[in-house]
Amino acid sequence: MDAVVAFLISIPISPLLSLLFEGIDRKLHARMQKRIGPPVLQPFYDLIKLLGKERIIPATASTRIFEIMPMVSTASSLLGASILLSNILSNSNIVGDLILIIYLLAMSSIALIVGGSASGNPYSAIGFSRKISMMIAYEIPMLIAVISMAFGPSPSLAVSSIIEFQVSRGLPLVASRLSMALAAAAFLLCIPAAASVVPFDIPEAKTEIIYGFLIEYGGPYLALAKVSKSVLNFTLTLLASAIFLYIPSLLGEAALLNLGLSLFLCLIVSLLIMFITITVPRTVLARLKVGQALKFYWVLPLTLSFSSIILSAVNL
């Protein structure tokens, strides 16, 4: 498929897929709590409803930033998702590599917290500072895990070339090298924090600071924020599945010829990843405190990602 066409197709598809994923996540979460839970299409209903609601801007907010930031956030996470998706769909790259995608995702989180703290609510302010500490904690291992790829196997950091590399080996990256297995582990451990779910939902802890930076957003703004978060989660899981666990590579060259099938397999894998890294932790764990979360990230994922860099430097 032509890269540009793929990109254009990805833009509407990625939010749809993300919301679907979110719905599945919520359903599974409920089932694990012995409940029936909301319908799988619930996030769509939520979105429609929120879009149709009144727009309220709190009097204490600095209006412009408060209004614009959710859009910025959604745009950047959408862009990140579309780049990734179009890479998988067309197996070619028009713009940007892994670093750009990760950057766009971070951008989308930052835009949200900046917008939220422009509301002037003290809870948002606390959420802001918490999110920043959390980002420092997880972004670094995440980035290092990705960069370790450049030291080692892959010729470039473009997603399509990483996929090609995996296909040419006939094995997903995790299986082919020890260093990549460590990097994948670090990356997966960072997903719950990046998606900010329990135990790392510290920046928006409902019972502590009432959603933190989201507190003053309502109606369409909240809808945008929700979409942005949901696309972000989706992109993270899809990213993990595409660069570390590209299962279609087991099919060999056929994977590149039959891109639709590959995408489907990839989505299945990312659904599994979502289940493991998002649904399960938020079901069976309690929320940590900032200090504890920082400690966790400084110890485990950081060590993992550093060792993966060292190992890939010595070509293991």
Binding site: M32, Q33, R35, N121, V198, K206, E208, I209, L285, R287
Partner: protein, 408 residues
């Protein structure tokens, strides 16, 4: 007072932020307003503002007859409603000399302990919810439903049992109920073990151990009661110290659970283990349940007439600690004065103490561990906050106004 619940209020000092924790806050189902002063994430000072659920129950009760007052005091709170009515009827019985039958006393004890189980389970669920552990919260509340079902079967309502009446109880236990209770107790016992394990889970442990420490001497100084005190090693329990209802006969089957650490975990564990004790007591009650009638023959009007002028103080151990009633009757089926001292009211005093020095993230957990349910705590004078003037409405004017409104 102007709403400040979710509004910013930055203090003069630039790093010191004043947050209003409540009265509208998802972590607390009841409106309490804590004004928390923080520096970064650390709590430096706490102010407690009460009175959001002040409904004037005491003075309302003084304007009604005893039968009506009985249901009114029940609605002081929906969690230990039975404690309130028991305490109230006990005082009336003391004044009038009406003796409830043994069976009635045993049934009171039964509901009392069931209520303790339900209340403790509720709190454990809330604790789990505060630390973001929704699954555990769902689980504990699901276990609690069993108890509520039994309440509904025995008394006809899940929350406000309306079990007590002057001189006895209103609903009797049938043999099927006994059987069902027995089965349910076994299930709950099993679940408690599971919950206990879950509370020792790594992430929960991280959020509860060593937090909000209230040491022994301070606990005594601040007059805390109930599980909060017992978590700090203060050995008090009205059930043992001043036995009422059928607790005199139960002495050998329950022990007072004590923990020394005084932290959130200790308080939680005290509650967990108290559930097991309560189960023992219920088993004993079912075992020994005497035969007989459950209430006096006379109807409520006769009984009310029998209550002469007098006053009495009555004590019970509500799930959250010692509950005290002072009742003064007017001899005409009404009340001259009612005074309620509820456990949470005593316990709240320690909040400031246990919160300072901790992180914002710990506030809900610590507050929940004191188990502040505030519907009964909101009392005291009427302070007009807008102009800061203290406005103590005299008893008579208040009563007059109350009457007037009631008549409409």
């Amino acid at each position: 007072m102007i709403e400040r619940g979710i509004e910013k209020e930055v203090e003069v000092e630039y790093t010191r932020l004043r947050i209003h924790f409540g009265p509208v806050h998802p972590a607390l189902k009841e409106p309490v307003s804590l004004r928390v002063f923080v520096k970064g994430e650390e709590v430096v000072d706490v102010d407690i503002v009460l009175g959001h659920v002040h409904r004037g129950i005491e003075s309302l009760a003084e304007g009604r007859n005893l039968a009506q007052a009985l249901y009114l005091v029940e609605r002081i709170c929906g969690i230990c409603s039975h404690s309130h009515t028991t305490c109230f009827t006990q005082a009336l019985e003391e004044i009038s000399g009406i003796k409830p039958s043994e069976r009635a006393l045993y049934l009171r004890t039964l509901i009392f302990e069931m209520e303790r189980i339900h209340s403790h389970l509720l709190l454990l669920g809330i604790m789990a919810y505060e630390v973001g552990f929704d699954t555990l919260f769902m689980f504990t509340w699901h276990v609690r439903e069993r108890i509520l079902d039994l309440f509904e079967k025995i008394t006809g309502n899940r929350i406000h049992h309306a079990m007590n009446t002057i001189g006895g109880v209103r609903w009797d236990l049938t043999p099927e109920m006994v059987k069902e209770l027995d089965a349910c107790l076994g299930e709950i016992e099993k679940s408690i073990k599971y919950i206990h394990d879950a509370f020792m889970d790594k992430t929960v442990e991280k959020r509860t151990y060593g937090l909000g420490v209230l040491d022994h001497s301070r606990a005594i100084k601040l007059c805390v009661v109930g599980p909060t005190a017992r978590g700090s090693g203060v050995n008090i329990d009205v059930r043992r110290d001043h036995p009422y209802a059928a607790y005199n006969d139960m002495k050998e089957v329950f022990s007072v659970i004590l923990r020394k650490d005084g932290d959130v975990y200790a308080r939680t564990e005290v509650r967990l283990l108290e559930i097991l004790e309560s189960i023992n007591i219920i088993r004993m009650v079912l075992d020994r349940l005497p035969e007989g009638s459950i209430r006096p023959e006379e109807n409520i009007f006769r009984l009310m007439r029998k209550i002469q002028e007098g006053e009495a103080v009555s004590l019970v151990e509500a799930p959250r600690g010692e509950l005290l009633y002072f009742v003064k009757t007017d001899g005409k089926g009404g009340l001259r004065r009612l005074k309620v001292r509820t456990p949470t009211f005593s316990n709240l005093a320690c909040l400031k103490h246990v919160l300072v020095g901790h992180e914002i993230a710990d506030i809900p957990v610590i507050v929940a561990s004191i188990d502040p349910c505030l519907s009964c705590t909101n009392r005291v004078t009427i302070i007009n906050r807008e102009n800061g003037e203290l406005n103590v409405v005299g008893m008579d004017t208040l009563r007059r106004r109350v009457r007037k409104k009631w008549m409409q």
